[in-house]
Symmetry: C2
């Protein structure tokens, strides 16, 4: 079989995803339609359904790409040897990713739409989230092995850490911060996270 066919098929799927992502960044996920996506690369809307089952599959695929991008932004953390410092840096990188890719972050951790694609067989797990959570858990475990976090459970502690950074990121992205008159609006995210790190340091 000539590779031309299947190669082109992947190229079109890729073009659809790229076009979708571009529009999502430009005008938001909600205000981007299938016709918008298809039209922006010179196709009809119906043709998109030859490459993706529905809109949810596009959202889920981009959601997965988001996790790839996030993981690659975590690469620098390998340089940090102390696990607690690494964990704190991981939180900072997480917050930076959410701030720099708000639409992507929303698909990964907030929107229900990408999860609907898994609903077909409900046994299927959210592997991307589970994998990312595992790397956090491993770091917490390393901390414990060094004697930190005495009296704390690894999994529950990890979930708490995740929740804190996700809470900050999602409140910010959902416009719930800029409409509350904080003393230092621009710094509240950074300073808030510093408070958290300060608490963690006391668990040494």
């Amino acid at each position: 079989m000539s590779p031309t066919l299947s190669d082109r098929k992947e190229d079109v799927a890729e073009a659809i995803l790229d076009a979708a992502m571009k529009l999502f960044v430009e005008k938001g996920v909600d205000k981007t339609s299938m016709r918008n996506i298809a039209g922006s690369i010179g196709y009809s809307a119906g043709n998109v359904y030859l490459y993706f089952k529905n809109k949810a599959e596009i959202l889920h695929t981009l959601h997965s790409r988001g996790f790839q991008k996030m993981r690659s932004s975590f690469d620098v953390l390998r340089m940090v040897s102390d696990p607690l410092e690494r964990m704190k840096a991981m939180g900072k990188a997480y917050l930076a990713f959410a701030a720099e890719n708000p639409q992507l972050y929303n698909l990964m951790f907030v929107s229900m739409a990408p999860m609907k694609h898994l609903d077909a067989d409900c046994s299927e797990n959210w592997t991307e989230g589970a994998t990312t959570f595992m790397t956090l858990k491993n770091t917490v475990e390393e901390c414990k092995q060094l004697g930190y976090f005495a009296g704390h459970d690894i999994e529950h502690m990890s979930f708490m850490v995740w929740s804190t950074v996700h809470g900050m990121a999602s409140l910010s992205n959902a416009q719930r911060i800029n409409r509350v008159k904080f003393e230092n609006p621009d710094q509240v995210l950074e300073k808030g996270y510093e408070e958290f790190c300060l608490m963690l340091d006391r668990l040494k």
Copy 2:
């Protein structure tokens, strides 16, 4: 002027809000249309626009009602004299509210739609959120006056606490927990919050 007119006017608006809320709980906000809301109380869709400017205003009004409901669920906290214990109980009540009213919580803290109603004059603030945050801040301040939280900033610390409980609540409501294989899926929320309280106790 006879009160019959304006009274009925308020009644209809009330009926619309109640019908909307009922449908939101039953089948979710996204899958509830204006025609659904109007039809469920025997009206045409167009008539709803005599009582509410648009769908965003309905969502914003219910969002405000959500804050009323949440505040009333905070009433029991007056009984807790120690500010740190009160703050911990407040977090627990916050999590309980989010779990018991997921759709309402979404309107209050996650969805952009209710905020769009404020976008007309962007100077307007998110008073409901600001007020609720203030009660948390006051509690943190009381803690400081008792000598707790030494070296921590009141506002930044308050934001961090809010983020933690919001993170837990929103991850749970967004189906990001039940699809990750936790060791104890039913307890992770409760146990995770306990870990946070344990950290707070060390700041005494």
